[in-house]
Symmetry: C2
Subunit: 214 residues, 2 copies
């Protein structure tokens, strides 16, 4: 498991990361890489050269490859696979998930199979989290599995959600009541967790899928 230079996303500036994400996204959504001008207009740049600079940086750092002269010649140097959603790392204490940009990699996920429109992906509201622990075992969500999450701050009874409890992200069933909210594990060895109805940032997202690799 090498953390080579080109693997270390921390070596990227915030802007560079944004642009890289956009390219990844466009690749999966449109099937073709964006042009320099498309990138520029997306971020409000009035100059193509601005994008050139950033692409050049990403090139130099090994995140992108280009075929000289080729239209839409940008490709990701890593995974040729395709469309991917970010795999977020562990949730630092107290920080809601939106703040996290600690990408650990990416997963491929069939949005159409999940009945999602391309739009829901466009807004980059889908991400993956690696499950730790056995608390959802009986729901078929095992330790090490990836849950596919759509970022949203509401959910219905009985849905599996990502909840933020004391700064920690956990996967649980949601049970809303008038007086309190209860988070139910799917494993008799674990106890339900009660939360005040007015808890802030409780619901971070809804689990829309599970992926496991043997």
């Amino acid at each position: 498991m090498g953390t080579s230079d080109s693997d270390n996303l921390n070596s990227l500036s915030k802007t560079q990361r944004k642009i890289l994400s956009f390219i990844e996204e466009a690749l999966s959504l449109e099937g073709t890489p964006p042009t320099y001008r498309e990138i520029a207009s997306h971020f409000g740049y009035s100059a193509v050269g601005t994008v050139q600079d950033h692409v050049r940086a990403l090139l130099k750092k090994g995140f992108l490859r280009t075929t000289p002269g080729r239209a839409r010649g940008l490709t990701l140097s890593h995974r040729m696979e395709s469309l991917d959603i970010p795999v977020l790392g562990a949730v630092p204490a107290g920080r809601p998930i939106e703040a996290i940009e600690d990408r650990r990699g990416s997963l491929s996920f069939s949005l159409s199979s999940a009945g999602l429109s391309p739009k829901s992906q466009a807004s980059a509201e889908i991400y993956a989290l690696r499950v730790k622990g056995e608390s959802m075992r009986d729901a078929g969500i095992l330790d090490g599995d990836f849950v596919i999450v759509r970022k949203q701050h509401h959910a219905e009874n009985g849905q599996i959600i990502i909840a933020l409890i004391e700064g920690e992200a956990t996967v649980k069933f949601l049970e809303k009541r008038s007086d309190r909210i209860r988070l139910l594990p799917a494993n008799p060895a674990f106890s339900p967790i009660d939360v005040p109805v007015d808890a802030e940032n409780l619901v971070q997202g809804k689990v829309i899928g599970v992926q496991r690799f043997y």
Copy 2:
């Protein structure tokens, strides 16, 4: 589930099929669709117009889409997803899985996450099956889940495999012994199945992943 016109590959001429395949291939290999001229030179055409004709036909028949004016604007009209593996239907009696081409759709699956090289994909040896029943419940494989299978006819002890029993495909743990082979369910409500060691076509593939959609 209609077999619409654009689903029927038989409505394509041999040449059109070749060109469609080339586009699909280029998409997965290069990450970008080919240009008309690239297609032309690949097939030895000296005229761009020749490709235009064929693309126009594929367009008309609904296999391709284009964004007018866009460089490398060809995209597949079906699965926008990306790389996909076929989802096979139920296994008809007695017929080994290789014979089945009853595509029910396709799934996106992150090969790199599963530690697979692009080559294993190229050989189209990966497919998906929809799980019926609860026999593997305790292994986190639930009814309705998709198992990702690599086609192979051998497997090791403890691995989850696709076994062909009396013409039916089932998901089970494999337990090889000197005298017989035992297929273990992951659910106390089900019983192990014993199979002679010389059973033919028993192991159809190895389960390398699971995917679930809520």
